[in-house]
């Protein structure tokens, strides 16, 4: 059993809420739009501080996204926040037409994405979202890995002129250690160098990928770890470099098809054919807590390390 013992674990929603509050304090164009999700989006303090700038449309996701597009037309920079499962599945045409196709300056924040809602089941899991959103032209899609990157992604989204979707987890993650902390939309970060294979992950899987690389190193396998936080637009240079190692494992808290792994595979199949394993969920999931689901489907450091060994034709040490 690989264990990973970070100094502390964090809920990225806190970084999200803190950051939009900071931005709002210096830019009165920043507004928050919610669907009765003020608590789950942690917007209570924002609302207390900027009561005129928190727009709660009630339980109406289609209207929430369209209202966000309208606010952008009126010169605002709206952060439209709701549970990822409803924001995407319920309001997909509004995301496509009112935000992306219209190139509206809307920032969509899918809160508690992935399997954070655990036992609540597949209705509340948001694991199809990366595949769906990735298919939409002109929509920037960011899946931050930790609180620092969440804050940076929110700042970058606010500064970017155009529609952005930020996928925010509530599953506790550690703050990653970085030698050169820098976030830019469309640029992956290589958190660990290694030439035997590359692990490309994002969101809650990044710290697990780092732990897997640590374990593999003990076995003499040098794994590069790439945090591909921006899924659209994809950092193809980072993928090409990863492919040059000869093997890629992708890992994401989402469907194993069509998401980050699919994006990497599309590029590699055409430009840099390479052996791959794509880790993610198979489909509608059984009842279980978020952590149980992650364990059960191998979205753990153990699971990533096992996929790496399998890909390299090496047995477990």
């Amino acid at each position: 059993m690989i264990t990973h013992s970070p100094a502390g674990m964090f809920d990225c929603r806190d970084a999200y809420a803190r950051t939009i509050e900071e931005l709002a304090a210096v830019d009165d164009r920043i507004v928050a739009v919610a669907n009765d999700s003020v608590g789950s989006s942690k917007l209570g303090k924002f609302g207390a501080r900027f009561p005129d700038r928190l727009i709660n449309v009630g339980i109406a996701e289609q209207n929430m996204v369209s209202v966000g597009a309208g606010l952008a037309n009126g010169g605002k920079i709206p952060f439209v926040s709701g549970a990822g499962c409803f924001l995407t599945a319920r309001a997909m045409e509004q995301i496509k037409v009112d935000c992306a196709y219209s190139e509206a300056n809307v920032k969509l924040c899918g809160i508690s994405s992935g399997v954070a809602y655990g036992e609540l089941g597949a209705t509340h899991h948001s694991i199809e979202d990366i595949a769906w959103l990735r298919a939409i032209d002109k929509l920037t899609l960011i899946v931050p890995a930790d609180p620092w990157q969440t804050a940076e992604a929110i700042k970058a989204a606010a500064a970017h002129d155009g529609p952005v979707f930020v996928r925010i987890s509530r599953m506790p993650v550690p703050e990653l250690t970085r030698t050169n902390p820098r976030f830019a939309i469309g640029k992956a970060e290589t958190l660990r160098e290694g030439g035997d294979l590359a692990i490309i992950a994002n969101g809650t899987l990044v710290h697990r990928a780092l732990a897997a690389a640590e374990a593999l190193a003990a076995e003499g396998i040098a794994a590069r770890v790439v945090n591909m936080a921006t899924v659209s637009p994809l950092d193809v240079e980072a993928i090409a470099a990863a492919a040059a190692t000869g093997a890629i494992v992708t890992a994401e808290e989402g469907l194993a098809k069509g998401g980050l792994g699919g994006a990497v595979a599309e590029y590699c199949a055409q430009h840099s054919p390479v052996r791959m394993r794509m880790l993610g969920f198979p489909g509608f999931l059984p009842t279980g807590s978020a952590s149980w689901l992650m364990e059960h489907f191998g979205l753990t450091a153990d699971g990533i390390a096992a996929a790496a060994r399998d890909l390299l034709g090496k047995g477990a040490q």
Binding site: D52, A69, G74
Partner: protein, 292 residues
């Protein structure tokens, strides 16, 4: 036949209602001929809904709206949102007539790489506020614009034209409920109540009535008007443009295909292209109307 693109603003509003109505009437007649020619040349279109909406759109673009085609993104401009986005014949002729793009460009309608797509696209054309086409989108976006104006205490007014069949979309009532809740007094919806949707009468498909009661129940002021009476349209829109504390809906009773006898109130002209004889007859009827 008028070929110039007269865009009259403040000076026309000072004119008598009769003069203003005459101007809108002339512009609407021009729009009807021009959009029918576009549809004939393109070989497709939505003439029924274009013609039911023409008088409403003419009243807005050629009288009511405080817009400037040389500054289409001015923050304080009035907003017009075309929620029934399939009726591009009416919208594009109005935008061209109001100077947002050259009238000659109407000849490119639906041609490869034209800015005049089958549904309006704001990234192609100045003057389009948001991309519409799928029903149930424009109105909720307009609600968001009105919320921004409310927050900023801005002077601009937000006008939306919806289809009546479009009111079968659930997102319209999400938007109506929220606009009522917020008391969006800067928002006016005009329902093009032609009674027909693509395949049949609205009341035979999924009935909308009692429509005024529905809007009232959602917190709206309701005014019913004749959507082809230019003076009545201007009066209702003038009143709607005054400051108030509730959103207002103008239920404009119209006919699909208005202005062309064989298209009027005919469900079959939702889509469709007149043949040469039909086109000649339509133009002759519109010529006769212009000469009245």
């Amino acid at each position: 036949m008028v070929t110039h693109n007269t865009f009259l603003t403040a000076d026309t509003r000072d004119h008598s209602l009769d003069r203003r109505a005459a101007h809108v009437r002339e512009r609407a007649n021009w729009m009807r001929r021009r959009l029918l020619r576009m549809i004939v040349e393109a070989g497709q279109g939505h003439p029924g809904g274009d013609l039911s909406a023409t008088d409403i759109i003419a009243a807005l673009y050629f009288d009511i709206l405080r817009i400037d085609s040389s500054s289409p993104a001015a923050p304080d401009r009035d907003r017009f949102v075309m929620s029934k986005g399939h009726c591009t014949g009416a919208l594009y002729t109005a935008l061209a007539g109001a100077g947002f793009f050259p009238e000659a460009e109407l000849e490119t309608y639906l041609k490869p790489e034209s800015r005049l797509n089958g549904h309006p696209n704001r990234t192609y054309l100045p003057g389009v506020e948001t991309n519409t086409g799928p029903l149930g989108h424009g109105f909720p976006v307009a609600v968001g614009i009105a919320v921004a104006g409310q927050i900023d205490r801005a002077d601009y007014r937000v006008f939306v034209l919806t289809g009546d069949g479009e009111l079968q979309e659930g997102s319209m009532w999400e938007a109506a409920m929220f606009a009522g809740h917020r008391g969006l007094g800067n928002l006016t919806v005009i329902v093009d109540r032609n009674g027909l949707q693509q395949g049949a009468r609205t009341e035979g498909t999924n009935s909308l009535e009692p429509l005024p009661d529905k809007w009232r129940a959602f917190g709206w002021e309701v005014v019913e008007i004749d959507g082809h009476d230019h003076a009545g349209l201007l009066t209702a829109l003038d009143e709607a443009a005054q400051p108030r504390t509730k959103p207002r809906v103008l239920i404009a009773h119209t006919f699909k295909g208005q202005g062309v006898s064989f298209m009027r109130d005919q469900v079959g002209w939702h889509h469709g292209v007149p043949n040469a004889a039909q086109y000649a007859q339509a133009i002759a009827e519109l010529d006769a109307d212009a000469a009245r």
